[in-house]
């Protein structure tokens, strides 16, 4: 897997590069500005770009803007955005183009290397990786008459993991339940929320996230 990294903090940039190379992944460039990111993508044509939100020159949301711009310029380019804090509105912006290969995670998730690599692979393969905290932000703001209230605690867990972008088998492993049980929960969730049953994959994640954002 070919990866381009854009992170302005030297320690984090080198740590991330080192960690990914140690896992046998091909980090083709590691840059520290949004402009360098765009030119690195142009030359390296990576499978996925890892991008920090806050970058020079103004240290606002340059990284996020560059990520959105890169996806518009190279359709199908997978982007995994990393940040010290997550905002649901940023996730909305990343997902706005409706195509797959999007991730948005807290930087510290890198520390759980196996989970992080799983997310990276998912995004590179056109899937989705949403930080549990984004999903939590989406889940807290619910009204008293919200259909979400009708979900059982287990169904809420399954919904959350779906929103994070996990596949049925991963959800089964994480919750220690059988694939059949996962399937049944998902069926119940879609019925209770009145969502059309979508096939697994990015379309399902988008449908769930769109429902939660409503």
């Amino acid at each position: 897997m070919r990866i381009v990294i854009a992170e302005d903090d030297t320690l984090l940039r080198e740590g991330l590069t080192h960690l990914l190379r140690a896992e046998g992944l091909d980090v083709t460039s590691a840059v520290d500005t949004p402009d360098d990111l765009l030119s690195a993508i142009a030359t390296d044509r990576p499978d996925v770009a890892l991008v920090d939100v806050r970058m020079p020159p103004t240290f606002r949301d340059e990284g996020l803007r560059a990520a959105v711009e890169a996806r518009a310029k190279w359709p199908g380019l997978a982007v995994l955005v990393l940040s010290a804090h997550v905002e649901e509105s940023y996730a909305t912006q990343l997902l706005a183009d409706g195509s797959g290969g999007v991730g948005y995670l807290l930087k510290e998730r890198v520390g759980k290397v196996a989970d992080f690599l799983d997310a990276l692979n998912r995004v590179a393969a056109g899937g989705t990786a949403m930080d549990p905290e984004v999903v939590a932000q989406l889940l807290v703001r619910r009204r008293a008459d919200d259909p979400l209230r009708q979900l059982t605690p287990r169904e809420r867990e399954v919904l959350g993991l779906m929103a994070e972008g996990h596949s049925n088998s991963t959800i089964g492993t994480l919750l220690v339940i059988s694939d059949g049980a996962v399937h049944k929960h998902i069926g119940n969730i879609f019925t209770k929320l009145g969502l059309p049953t979508t096939d697994a994959g990015h379309r399902r994640v988008l449908a769930v996230l769109a429902y939660l954002r409503k």
Partner: protein, 382 residues
């Protein structure tokens, strides 16, 4: 005596009778139902009069700010009472003077044709000599008007202007207010520093100490039995993750990162989007304000939304942000059941204190039955 040309003063005073009669009508109307509509009419009449007096004096009468509508209403009503009495009386003088001249001149000229003719002072007119006296009376009416009307008009206009303009805050009053808000600001700042210190010291710092201790254990374990290192590594990792989560909370409470990255409008839009009650944002282009002002406005909206969700029972909230000359106006309106009181809720009191520190004003309008409007005006410091 006056820099106003004569006829203008006469017209000004005489038209005051019309205004006075309307004022009288409104005073009576206030005793009837539909008070809000009467008060609207009072406001309009006062506004018109402000214009008229301002034009007459050639000095515009300052318009009271809408911030303090209760005081404005009280002043408008007091002006109404003045106009309904003094205004009518003063206005009768030019009217009386003109009619006095006209009437007496007519009587003096046509007395032979008028049965029981008498001057307006009740002197019978039975000869041309009496008619002459009547002409003198007419002249006296005219002279009285010419001498008294212009200064009276000017004096009355000034009295009206004083009643119609917002009260002038004396420098001493202003100084006392600034001193008080400054003390409140220092107090609030101190409390804030203590809060930040506590959460960093008791939370984040302790977690990081735990990380270092666990790493120490790892170091020892690696030299003795590498397999035993794993649990400590995992514990250290979890402790560091907790420290980061707490740190994010503290950072968010000091200055929300989204504010730094996106500015006030977008930050508030994200608050609105996360609100449990449908919340629309009435947006106007905002110039960047000092960071402290933007943060204050952001926390006001956050607090007001939290309050509305917890207590109002509303199903619709509107947040409005706009810049008006030199101030930032924040308004959060919900259609809930009202009855919010900043003397009770700590949230609303918190807003009050936070805004007072910026020399801003907070107004909470929440009649029983709703709607509740939290309105905050912060000087933008530009």
């Amino acid at each position: 005596m006056t820099n106003q040309p004569g006829p203008k003063a006469w017209r000004f005073l005489a038209f005051g009778v019309v205004v006075g009669l309307r004022a009288l009508g409104l005073l009576v109307g206030m005793a009837l139902p539909h008070l809000p509509r009467v008060m609207e009419a009072v406001g309009r009449l006062a506004a018109n009069e402000r214009d008229r007096v301002g034009r007459f004096l050639a000095i515009p009468v300052p318009v009271p700010s809408t911030e303090d509508s209760a005081t404005t209403v009280r002043r408008d009503v007091r002006w109404l009472a003045l106009q309904a009495t003094g205004g009518i009386l003063a206005g009768l003088l030019p009217v009386g003077s003109v009619t006095g001249v006209a009437q007496n001149v007519v009587i003096a000229a046509f007395w032979p044709f008028i049965p029981d003719a008498a001057s307006t002072l009740d002197m019978p007119v039975r000869s041309w000599g009496d008619a002459g006296l009547t002409l003198v009376t007419a002249a006296a009416y005219g002279l009285l008007g010419v001498l008294v009307v212009p200064p009276l008009a000017r004096w009355y206009a000034k009295v009206s202007a004083a009643r119609l303009a917002p009260p002038v805050q004396s420098l001493a009053e202003r100084l006392a207010e600034v001193t008080a808000t400054r003390a409140a600001a220092l107090e609030a700042h101190g409390t804030e520093l203590q809060r930040i210190e506590r959460s960093l010291h008791d939370g984040t710092q302790n977690r990081l100490v735990a990380v270092v201790m666990q790493l120490g254990a790892v170091e020892r374990a690696l030299s003795r039995d590498p397999a035993a290192a794993l649990p400590s590594v995992l514990t250290a990792q979890n402790a560091a993750t907790d420290a980061l989560a707490e740190l994010r909370q503290v950072v968010r409470s000091i200055y929300p990162p989204v504010l730094a990255e996106r500015g006030l409008s977008d930050a508030v839009a994200s608050l609105a989007a996360q609100c449990a009650i449908p919340c629309t944002l009435d947006e106007h282009p905002l110039p960047r304000a000092p960071a402290a002002v933007e943060a204050a406005a952001y926390f006001v909206v956050a607090e007001a939304l939290t309050n509305a969700v917890k207590h109002s029972g509303a199903d619709q909230i509107t947040v409005s942000l706009r810049a008006e000359d030199g101030v930032l106006v924040v308004e959060v309106t919900d259609n809930g059941h009202g009855g919010a009181d900043d003397g009770q809720g700590t949230g609303l009191r918190g807003i009050h204190h936070r805004i007072a520190a910026f020399d801003g004003t907070t107004k909470i309008d929440s009649p029983l039955g709703g709607p509740t409007v939290v309105r905050v005006v912060i000087p933008a410091g530009t």
